[in-house]
């Protein structure tokens, strides 16, 4: 399937939804391609009551002329503005021969690929029912019952309280919320939040829903259990203690998804996609909006989506007019990053036997002493499994200070048949080898 659009938006979170709707409102033929089963991304994920703004934007998307490719995963970019996507579960739905791919051509591409959670390895973190914080929230929104479940929420960042509140609202018993940052840093972030009444309101909602104590400078040192997590050891200062639980939700703030931007050749600085004030990346006709340009929350993402779409639709004047509003919100990006800075003590949680790369079961002892990410990959297969280092890359960056390698296609694993079809269309057979390796690794 080959399709042409004026504006192609990747990612249907707040930035992507606003960008696609805005582009359609500008009279452009717009498309929105997204990996998830429904639009909204993570923060506007269905399955839970959504804020008014989310409902309004998702309704606008429904009634818009935006062409939707929901449940499609972009796995390659053979051209600057040409993307290849594979339909998730195409064969599961009984369609075709097990694969279905789309070749998407566009005059302008807007990347709104969002962020993922940062996971840090500690003994027992690979046990079933140890999930991310946003991870457990997503599973709950996806229908996992929480009533009566004892949950420990740990890690760092505003997600902890938000998710604890949501889980409690679903009947979970929140055993503890453990934030690794010290209280004074949270207070500083709180002062920043005070300047944005919307954020303050969100915070109050969380606290109300939860009715539990927030432990600061506190973290999980180990998860215990055979077939699944049964208890965790918590540490706060010199105090260690064990608590029973049915689930541990543990995540250390967010890491921007910059892989597709990197594959397209966009300049990435300190882990963030570099843009100008019109959200233009270093690559012509490619724009970026939302978390890949900096973790700053829903309102900033929406604003960037709008700016990017206006700029992409030739309304640069209006886009530039919104730059001051955006600059006003960038302070929160810095405040959030400062608040979520990881305590170096967390590096000591990993023991020699702790698995760092979950795809390939590479343990810490195999990685100690390696020079860099590339050597670790070549010698141990760390980061070479189907997640392509999306989980262990951020962990090894923290543990060893390793920087990421260059990104190569396919940017997500794809069926060999899809890569073959893509190869026929674009004559890049080199990716075939990579795909076969990926398939065999499973």
């Amino acid at each position: 399937m080959k399709q042409h659009f004026d504006v192609l938006v990747v990612g249907a979170g707040p930035a992507g939804v606003v960008a696609a709707v805005t582009a359609a409102q500008c009279g452009q033929r717009a498309a929105l391609v997204d990996d998830n089963p429904a639009a909204g991304g993570q923060i506007w994920r269905s399955g839970a009551p959504l804020p008014k703004a989310a409902r309004a934007w998702l309704a606008r998307l429904e009634s818009s002329r935006v062409v939707r490719l929901q449940g499609w995963r972009v796995f390659d970019a053979p051209g600057r503005t040409v993307l290849l996507a594979e339909r998730n579960g195409a064969s599961a739905a009984g369609l075709g021969d097990g694969t279905e791919i789309a070749e998407l051509h566009a005059a302008k591409v807007i990347l709104a690929t969002g962020a993922r959670e940062r996971f840090l390895p500690f003994p027992g973190w690979t046990l079933p029912h140890v999930t991310g914080v946003g991870g457990l929230d997503a599973l709950t929104r996806g229908g996992l019952p929480m009533a009566g479940k004892r949950v420990v929420v740990a890690g760092t960042g505003p997600l902890l309280l938000a998710v604890a509140g949501h889980l409690a609202g679903n009947g979970a018993r929140i055993v503890a919320v453990c934030e690794q940052a010290p209280l004074e840093r949270l207070v500083r972030l709180g002062m920043h939040v005070l300047r944005e009444p919307g954020k303050l309101w969100q915070g109050m909602q969380y606290r109300r829903a939860m009715r539990t104590r927030l432990l600061t400078r506190c973290w999980v040192t180990a998860a215990h259990g055979e077939d699944r997590v049964r208890s965790v050891t918590l540490r706060q200062g010199k105090k260690h203690w064990e608590v029973g639980c049915d689930a541990l939700a543990c995540g250390f703030h967010l890491v921007p998804n910059t892989e597709l931007a990197e594959l397209l050749g966009c300049r990435v600085e300190e882990g963030l996609v570099a843009t100008d004030e019109q959200m233009r990346t270093s690559v012509e006709d490619v724009y970026c909006a939302g978390e890949p340009t900096g973790i700053g929350g829903v309102e900033l993402s929406r604003l960037e989506g709008q700016i990017a779409a206006l700029a992409a639709c030739g309304r640069g004047e209006e886009a530039r007019g919104m730059a001051a509003r955006r600059r006003g919100k960038l302070g929160f990006v810095r405040a959030l990053a400062a608040a979520c800075q990881l305590d170096p003590e967390l590096k000591k949680l990993t023991t020699d036997e702790t698995i760092v790369c979950r795809c390939e079961d590479v343990r810490f002892r195999a990685l100690r002493g390696r020079l860099n990410w590339r050597e670790a990959k070549l010698q141990t297969r760390c980061g070479m499994g189907p997640c392509q280092g999306r989980v262990c890359g951020a962990a090894t960056e923290f543990l060893f200070g390793w920087g990421a390698d260059s990104v190569r296609p396919p940017v997500f694993p794809a069926a060999v048949a899809s890569l073959a079809a893509a190869g026929q269309a674009n004559n890049f057979t080199a990716t075939m080898t990579t795909s076969e390796e990926t398939e065999e690794n499973v």
Binding site: D35, S46, G143, D227, V391
Partner: protein
């Protein structure tokens, strides 16, 4: 869990599971009390990220291998095989 009338029935490792409409396959597998896969060194694994990034939740759906169960919504009559079953058979 809802009654069969308002729910979606599917098979997880040969056992019938009924879930509310809109439930992801990952949630259904967890509700069925099974893990999603066995790691290369033999550890049981279950969903981690819930958003299609980590690939821990991959299962076989209607014969299609390596499907990320957190990104797919349950459909009536779906046949889900997890890596837990494969490990048992091996």
């Amino acid at each position: 869990m809802r009654e069969a009338g308002g729910g979606v029935s599917l098979m997880v490792n040969g056992a019938s599971v009924t879930v509310a409409p809109g439930t992801t396959v990952a949630a259904a597998v967890m509700m069925a009390g099974t893990m999603t896969r066995t790691s290369v060194s033999g550890e049981p694994r279950a969903p981690l990220c819930g958003m299609g990034i980590c690939f821990e939740c991959r299962v076989t759906i209607d014969g299609a291998t390596h499907q990320r169960s957190c990104q797919i919504v349950c459909a009536p009559g779906m046949d889900v095989q997890t890596g837990a079953a494969e490990a048992r058979q091996a």
